[in-house]
């Protein structure tokens, strides 16, 4: 609960990363979400990923919209600046922040209401702009903070807790992201830490728009036996084995060995490597059509394809498109930005 301050003292023998920081240094305040909420597991995975990647927390910016999911950034990375904006508008805030300072890591947290309904337009356009960010949707199929209304990602076959049928088709954000040109698209499950952490790391390392749709059951309103976003349902229908991924930082040695032809490696912009395994003809995540096919054939069977669904090796971001300077715009000096009186005289002369 928020009125219980989190103790700051920690065990002296906690492991430290290359920056000399412990996991605790990547935490935030105490969560105020319901006990067992999937969002808290995703929060833990973000903390773990940032810790293991040795990211300096103050070089990360956390951004969110409104809703249970969008509260989550308070619960991780208290040494990072955060911006809890207005409902559905996190992408525009992130666009501006990233324009101003391209050197920070941007982790956006949103929900299915925030992204698939009120913020659908901003989501689409952030993808189109190739905004360099990690965009995580904590997807529970319902509006938690307003007590359980259906969201636009709730499956048509999945009734509410009270048994009301959902009359509308679900929006599949991963399919949308692929169609709109997102460079990195993955789906995961808050209950599968082993899959989620490398995906978060890879998304952070990716230069361009990295989208992670994480199914995150709402224990209070959408975890009943007939829900397709419940812990039990997702565990039983998760096709996490479809492809498997290792995230290897450049300093590490590659030790895992898979049968030839079934793996591929992709070098990320920061020098780290993604090793993809269990590639087969059905699904190579470097192929957008195959990715869409995998999502759709699984959905038709009632199963959920998770893992890295699509990755484009052409890593380009908004700054490449806009041809902005290498250094952050917010670091430009006024002397460089203001042309001065002489240039103004020339402009006056042209207007005479």
């Amino acid at each position: 609960m928020s009125y219980i301050a989190k103790p700051s003292a920690h065990h002296p023998a906690l492991p430290k990363n290359a920056l000399g920081l412990t996991r605790r240094d990547y935490e935030g305040t105490m969560s105020t979400l319901c006990a067992g909420c999937g969002h808290d597991s995703i929060t833990a995975a973000i903390i773990e990923a940032c810790f293991e990647m040795d990211l300096p927390a103050h070089r990360i910016a956390k951004v969110s919209g409104i809703g249970c999911s969008s509260k989550a950034p308070t619960y991780f990375l208290s040494r990072s600046h955060g911006f809890n904006s207005v409902h559905g508008r996190m992408p525009s805030i992130t666009t501006g922040a990233n324009l101003a300072n391209r050197d920070l890591v941007y982790i956006g947290v949103s929900g299915d209401g925030d992204t698939a309904s009120i913020g659908l337009g901003q989501f689409c356009h952030a993808v189109r702009r190739r905004l360099n960010m990690t965009y995580i949707v904590m997807n529970n199929g319902c509006y938690g903070l307003t007590k359980g209304q259906f969201s636009a990602t709730n499956d048509k076959s999945s009734p509410s807790k009270k048994g009301e049928a959902n009359p509308f088709e679900a929006i599949d954000l991963c399919q949308m992201a692929i169609q709109l040109g997102a460079g990195f698209v993955a789906r995961s499950f808050s209950g599968d830490k082993a899959q989620l952490i490398p995906l978060i790391k890879a998304a952070i390392s990716y230069k361009g728009f990295a989208f992670l749709d994480v199914i995150s059951p709402c224990v209070t309103f959408n975890n009943h036996p007939t829900s397709t976003k419940s812990y039990d349902y997702v565990r039983a229908h998760n096709m996490a084995s479809e492809n498997q991924l290792d995230y290897v930082e450049h300093k590490e040695e590659i030790t895992v060995d898979y049968a030839e032809g079934s793996s591929a490696s992709i070098e990320m912009h920061d020098g780290s490597l993604l090793l993809l395994h269990k590639l087969d003809q059905q699904h190579d995540p470097r192929n957008a059509d195959a990715a869409l096919m995998t999502i759709r054939t699984n959905a038709a069977k009632g199963s959920v394809a998770t893992g890295l669904l699509y990755i484009s090796q052409d890593q380009q971001d908004m700054h490449d498109v806009l041809a902005t300077v290498e250094q952050p715009l917010n670091a430009a000096s006024m002397a460089d930005l203001c042309p001065g009186s002489k240039a103004l005289e020339a402009i006056n002369a042209r207007l005479r």
Partner: protein, 606 residues
């Protein structure tokens, strides 16, 4: 009344026929002859085919408000012949294309028929040229009728066609065609004509949107996000034009980022994100955009994020009159967003101030950590004004406000005697110290939010803390009132009881009207408001007068309301003088509004 260097010409043409550039050439040529001119483009919300007008008031005395009563009508659009004819003053002239001769039902004016289409058809074979050069033929005729220096005109044409030099000769042929015809057929020049003057010397001719975009460059803006909307579009485009010229490094990289957003919500969101991260960021929009941006403006107000908006106002409500001017977003901008919000507004009166206040807006936004809205309008924004040249003081240090870097964060307690907290009022001016993302490994991070928060940016539902925070923001607005541009008073009679308050684009009309009233023995003291929140001089001016006219271009007397609620001026003292037909204000309107109160008998007699 009209005469040499003092008359109004109006061009009635069809949108998309190429008349706009010919008309601009005409106005610019007179300006280059040293004569102040005030062109007003009265155009439809349409790309091709609908009627459009271009009025040019020529005034050596420097009266640059619109004036009713057309001395010379260039009637090129049969669709509007009747209304155009009616606008000509008795004794005036009407020039038209007499290829299809027409009987004009007015005995009291002179009709000048020139077979323009026929002349063009004989001269050019290409249909597009036949159409386009018609415009230059009537401009040519005007050089003879109004005694315009053809050499100056040629210079204007050459500048206008920069990059398309081979077109200059053809255009000048068209000019010559019209000129020769008029010189041969009519008694040239007409009694109304021009002569070289000095009054426009040193001035520039520019639109407020061009100037506003340039102001953002000089203000150090690097992030621009916008959504196309008339009449603000050309402001963002001007920023881009100047940025391409002056903000590109030797290796071709840009010291700016422009996002044409998916809508106005996103546009202001991008600007707020940029401001939060320490860039100078802005958006340009008009009334409907302000409505859409309101939720975000409340966030920037409450979370205290600097951002600059240019609102180039147009006719409302709703979609209203997108191509007409009004000052009708004053209340919606002053209080944009739900809850107790309030925003800093600047009121430029001409393009020169769109530049200077545009640049200043960024200093104020960062100093005050809040949105600052530059309240331009269509008249200033899209019409070319003859105005004072832009001035920049190279000694000006941009005010980045209270932003802490890593070193200052380390020393904060030592310097200020207490710990830093994002929303602590350390200095007693209501303005806290802010930090930017990425500044310090362990200090200065906080969570920006639109939910209620305490002095250390922590979420709170404690009503006492909430009240304390919004009270502190109110104090910040008291500080704002001391930092914004001061109003400008013109005192004609120290013991005078009548005052008049005005702002923005109505300035030329008000100045002209008050000068005329003074000649008629009516002395009115005036004050031009340049910003909101009001500087203390505004209330003092209202205190010093028994009744005060408030001249504005909206139906509901919005500035008057603001004076009542924010400067505690009794409404009984404030007389609304309101114009809201979408046309730039005339001096005649202001004069009659004043006289209706002060000399009702005289007005009735007139």
């Amino acid at each position: 009344m009209s005469g040499i260097n003092d008359f109004v010409v109006k061009f009635a043409t069809v949108n998309g026929s190429g008349s706009a550039s010919a008309n601009t050439i005409f106005a610019k040529t007179l300006f280059r002859m040293g004569i102040p001119v005030a062109p007003k483009n009265i155009f439809p919300s349409n790309i091709q085919g609908l009627p459009t007008w271009y009025e040019v008031r020529v005034s050596e005395a420097g009266h640059l408000a619109r004036r009713d009563g057309i001395d010379l009508m260039v009637a090129m659009n049969p669709q509007t012949f009747n209304e155009d004819l009616a606008e000509v003053v008795p004794g005036g002239w009407l020039l038209y294309d007499s290829t299809l001769a027409r009987l004009w039902q007015r005995e009291d004016i002179s009709v000048l028929g020139i077979p323009i289409a026929e002349m063009c058809a004989a001269k050019w074979s290409d249909p597009r040229q036949r159409q386009l050069f018609k415009n230059m033929v009537y401009v040519g005729a005007l050089t003879a009728l109004l005694d315009i220096d053809p050499e100056v005109l040629k210079g204007t044409v050459t500048d206008q066609l920069k990059g398309k030099e081979k077109l200059v000769a053809a255009n000048m042929e068209a000019v010559e065609l019209g000129r020769a015809y008029a010189a041969a057929q009519f008694d040239c020049p007409l009694p109304i004509h021009v002569r070289q003057a000095e009054r426009a010397k040193g001035k520039i001719m520019v639109t407020g949107n061009d100037a506003g975009g340039l102001g953002a460059i000089y203000g150090g803006a690097t992030v621009c996000a916008w959504y196309p909307i008339t009449p603000s579009t050309s402001l963002a485009e001007a920023f881009e034009k100047y940025a391409r010229r002056m903000r590109v490094t030797k290796d071709g990289k840009r010291l700016y980022g422009i996002v044409q957003a998916e809508d106005e919500l996103a546009a202001v969101g991008v600007a707020i994100g940029g401001g939060w991260s320490g860039a100078r960021a802005f958006t340009a929009t008009s009334g409907p955009g302000i409505s859409l941006m309101s939720e975000f403006l409340g966030l920037a107000y409450f979370a205290e994020v600097p951002v600059v908006l240019y609102n180039v106002q147009r006719g409302g409500p709703s979609t209203g009159m997108p191509t007409r001017t009004q000052q009708s977003d004053i209340i919606s901008c002053a209080y944009a967003s739900h809850g107790d919000t309030k925003h800093v507004l600047l009121f430029p009166a001409n393009p020169t101030e769109c530049f200077s206040m545009g640049a200043q807006a960024f200093d104020l936004a960062e100093r005050l950590q809040t949105p600052v809205i530059v309240m331009s309008d269509l008249d200033i924004g899209m019409n070319e004004w003859v105005t004072d040249p832009f001035v920049w003081d190279d000694a000006h240090a941009h005010d980045r406000g209270k932003v802490l870097d890593a070193e200052m964060l380390d020393k904060f307690k030592e310097l200020k005697g207490r710990d830093w907290g994002r929303y602590q009022d350390i200095d007693g001016d209501g303005i806290p110290y802010r930090t930017l993302p990425g500044t310090h490994p362990t200090k200065g991070a906080f969570f920006t939010r639109g939910t209620s928060h305490d002095e250390n940016a922590r979420y709170t539902e404690d009503g006492r803390i909430h009240a304390r925070i919004i009270d502190r923001i109110r104090r910040k607005f008291e500080t704002a009132a001391t930092l914004v541009p001061k109003p400008e008073a013109t005192i004609r009679d120290k013991s005078g009881k009548t005052g008049l308050i005005y702002f923005g684009a109505t300035t030329p009309a008000v100045i002209e009207a008050l000068e005329q009233l003074e000649r008629e023995g009516v002395k009115v003291n005036a004050m031009r408001i340049k910003a909101f929140p009001f500087a203390k001089e505004v209330a003092a001016f209202c205190d010093a007068h028994e009744h005060i006219f408030v001249v504005e271009q909206n139906r509901d007397a919005q500035m008057r309301s603001l004076l009542m609620t924010e400067a505690d001026v009794p409404g009984t003292k404030l007389i609304a003088a309101l114009n809201y037909d979408g046309m730039p204000l005339t001096a005649a309107f202001v004069r009659s509004a004043v006289l209706k109160e002060l000399r009702p008998a005289q007005v009735a007699a007139e």
